[in-house]
Symmetry: C2
Subunit: 350 residues, 2 copies
């Protein structure tokens, strides 16, 4: 039995604790300063307020000011913050951890640097920590897995990635079981990029929902040919973006699986549908009460990166017509005008 | 203006005539001996009985015994039969056509030979015609496109393939317009395999629907993590199967887009759902009133091909655990038991 300390009591971290608990490990979940309500209730009866699920009695819950206690004697740490907590985790948590203590992160997203290069969060953290003289390896989780269904023990297929193979195998062996299935890869950037991109492209495919609604004059209708066309084009651009970062194209599969389910619902489908109906980005965001969406963040960052790289002639914008269109709608107020004809290709070489 | 003669008055051929008609070409549709009812009604008022759509008045309809008239002066022929008409078209039609007359086929599927190799229908036809001393090139259509939505002029993205580049460009220029988007590729086997495989894998992903229904005790519930896991694994295996036939992996995109929409409904989802509920293949086919499904045909053919190749040590069955599982359910009466743990991979090389 190992002792696992989860920092962040959000839905994904709390759900991820379930398979590890079922595998016989000690589970400690430490809330951030934003999680006090969740921890308060969970300490009482194990009920998770946001996930609306009863979690195992054996979970041990800690407030953020009990962090030290929660970390005492831990064999590994799981970073459970969202992308909005990336710098907080960098400043507040990593410096307090023994650099040898394995860390697995559930945070999804990518960062674009001014030179147009793209970094996953593990890479970003490792770089920033190195500047402070801290050498640490960070593993991460990617793949299609909603927290609700993981907590309900439905079959899920995910990818763990990291450059430290011992840590990677340790985490796989700790979490994987008969319902939580784990592939492992050394290619952190490919796994993380693939999974981040699915948010942007789920928005893109959802445009077809809004367009169909406008054409038919009612909500909830589907035109499958346009959705499939955007799905195919999304798969193509995701693969080309993996190539752009020299990523392992095998990691595309988890991103495509994740894209498939992300389109079914939630706020990303909602904003894509609104933009598809012809709403401006501003008006769509008003309907969503201004909640910042991961899909919007990643579309902006990817669009910025590609713009910089295209200016340097390192990439052609025309290779990513769908992504650049949603970027232009979000960042530059462009009107809906899907560049269908740019999706036509000629593969006549072989 | 060119004159296009469609042979087969089924839904797909009739729908495909719509963009060509909008592009100003002469459309002649010749029914097979099975299409008399369709042609009779269409001759009266242009209504297509199976598609339940009014088609343009300008279409010219012919009974099969008017074939000669329908072909007179045609610039190109479109083969519109289903996979069950492949040999009929080979014996009855091809010998009557000038070998120089371009042919575009909408027939989807693959054939497995005894040695385990896989052939697309254009390749099969070309091989068989060569034995009769007829040298002919055949182009084909693949990609996610339902006939209903094409007839309704919704945006569709498809791939035309063929080894004769002049014919290929001719067909693209004849059909492509502002709602029918056409990529072209020389890699016939890759395009056709990718599109055929989606039927088998749509059945595979639908297993998760039946499993969820059993677990929840009611119909119409979805568990998205297992569906996404099967979608990711399907994408992986489809890519590996393209590699197995030395196919262009770029063609995977159209197959994945097609997979995405095929899961939404129809008989393939239905049989996958029934098998997912634990029905035997025999019992599931009873519910479907014995209708032969393309998804079942292709799963059997692929399973047979892989079995032969594995016996010759040319491929490992373990590379295709999902396909082999549905093959074993269909061909060998195996019970539902998704090999989840075989989906876990280790990519630790780079």
């Amino acid at each position: 039995m190992t002792t696992l300390t989860f920092i962040g009591a959000g839905m994904m971290a709390s759900a991820l604790a379930v398979p590890a608990y079922d595998n016989g490990h000690e589970i400690r979940i430490v809330g951030t300063h934003l999680d006090d309500e969740i921890v308060k209730r969970a300490k009482e009866d194990g009920y998770h307020l946001n996930m609306k699920r009863q979690l195992p009695d054996g979970f041990k819950w800690y407030y953020y000011d009990e962090l030290e206690e929660g970390l005492y004697g831990a064999d590994a740490v799981i970073c459970g913050v969202s992308s909005f907590g990336v710098d907080w985790f960098l400043e507040e948590i990593y410096p307090k951890l023994d650099p040898k203590l394995p860390v697995l992160s559930v945070t999804k997203g990518m960062i674009n640097k001014e030179d147009g290069s793209l970094l996953s969060y593990p890479e970003y953290w490792e770089e920033e920590l190195a500047k402070k003289g801290i050498k640490r390896d960070i593993c991460a989780v990617g793949g299609p897995c909603t927290s609700y269904e993981l907590a309900d023990k439905h079959h899920s297929l995910v990818g763990f990635c990291g450059t430290n193979i011992d840590d990677l195998k340790f985490f796989r062996d700790t979490f994987a079981n008969d319902y939580y299935h784990v592939s492992i890869s050394k290619d952190v950037r490919a796994v993380e990029l693939s999974v981040a991109l699915k948010n942007a492209y789920a928005l893109a495919v959802s445009l077809a929902v809004g367009i169909a609604e406008t054409e038919e004059g009612k909500e909830g209708v589907n035109h499958y040919n346009p959705q499939a066309a955007l799905f195919a084009q999304s798969t193509r651009e995701m693969g080309d973006l993996l190539e752009l970062v020299n990523g392992d194209k095998n990691q595309l599969e988890l991103g495509v699986g994740d894209l498939y389910v992300t389109i079914f619902g939630g706020r990303t489908r909602r904003i894509g549908t609104l933009l598809g109906r012809g709403y401006s980005y501003e008006k769509a965001m008003e309907e969503l009460a201004g909640v910042t969406l991961e899909s919007v963040v990643i579309a902006k960052r990817m669009g910025e990166a590609i713009t910089v790289l295209a200016d340097k002639d390192e990439v052609k914008k025309d290779k990513f017509p769908l992504l650049m269109h949603i970027y232009n709608m979000i960042a530059n107020g462009a009107k809906l005008n899907i560049p269908w004809n740019k999706f036509n290709q000629e593969d006549l070489d072989n």
